[in-house]
Amino acid sequence: MSVAWAIARKDMRIYYLKPNIIVSGIFFPLFMFLAFAIGKNTPPSSLIPGLISITLLFSASSIEPVSIPIERRVKTFERLLSAPISLHSLVSGESLSGFLYSLGIACLPLAVGVIMFSTPIVHAPALVVSMILTAFCFATLGTLFAAYPTENVGEVMSILNTVRLPLIFISGVFIPISAMPQIGQKIALISPLTYGNDMIEYAYTGKSLFSPLLDIVVLVIFILIFQITANYLYKKFNE
């Protein structure tokens, strides 16, 4: 755990203020959200849960797809691989940096909701749990995609965006799942953002499509799937 923390701190120092991370982690979700939310006849305060969800998605999964290809290029990733640390510690450490970044960034829309729009939070513990699980889920997703053996940040981001962008449309962020066609509702079930967003909605409104317990269980399952797959891919691509 101490090694994972050391790796996370290293990423924080080097990558948190990198321009491409700020753009893809903060500005991109914000402007994407504004592009689709503005013009709708809904009170701004009701948009906060969706904004938190996609901020968590983009910011959590933006660190590793930048840091790991860069480190491959400058050969410092080899140093991590040759150090006496487990692959699990390496993957966890990389995910941890994305997780912490995402939680910090997601506090911005949260604060905006509370301070500017007086958006009420009905279940604060549910909000904390949902943000933590959603952040960790997408941080692990970012680490998973960064396993692709390339030194080119753009390559990883392109592949990752083919997954991230559709997720924001099929997970109930802009269109409620209940309002989607049947096929859309079925597809929504395989998106981790569906459950993260659902639980954040519950925290703000007291209402949700699924029970909070189901949301938690599914998010944990996704985290485990991403973590195990990431461990396997890092081992396979770095043998």
Partner: protein, 222 residues
Amino acid sequence: MMFSAELYHVGRKEREKKADELLKKFELYERRNDKAHGFSKGMKRRLTLAMGLVNSPRLLFLDEPTSGLDVQSNLIIRDVVTDLVLEGVTVFLTTHNIEEANIMCDRVAIINKGNIVAIDAPESLKKTIRSVQSIEVSFNHNSADQLDELHRLPMVNDAHKEGDKFKLYTEDPSEVIDAVVAYAHTHNLKVISITTLGPSLEDVFIRLTGLQRAGDGVHAID
């Protein structure tokens, strides 16, 4: 360095103490707060070595540690490696600089086309080719004809120009010294320096790997 130490599970107090010690040893202490991005090649290499030593390894592998570095960095790295060996650390070093292997290593393995062709102490390796002795001479004035003329002196088997010096290979150094002095007198030259040399490790390397000098160049024998 702190990060490297953490990866090797070095405790906090120990890594701070070790980092200070290594930064001073590698003459990087004054730059400890600067970003490594702005370091020269030699400084970066020294820093990399320092990071490799932060966990006090008992066995160290160095792949051409001084290759392409400035003189100061070379000297510092060689001194550090020598000190490590004195402390009982086993150091495996790869180098293309044969003189470096000669002065730094207790044992040398010569590898040719992926195979170890010899492995022994440098002086023991040199003794295997006693016949390769040489005279190294430098005159006050060099000309294009001198190499051929020196090559034609009696008892000279081979001659090469190395910078401002001529290296004459022979089995009878004393005879060649007489011939060189006579040559200098005949051509109104002054002998600046004259040295008798036993076989060098480079000579051993050339003999064992089948390389052959051709004039002033070297070409491989396939």
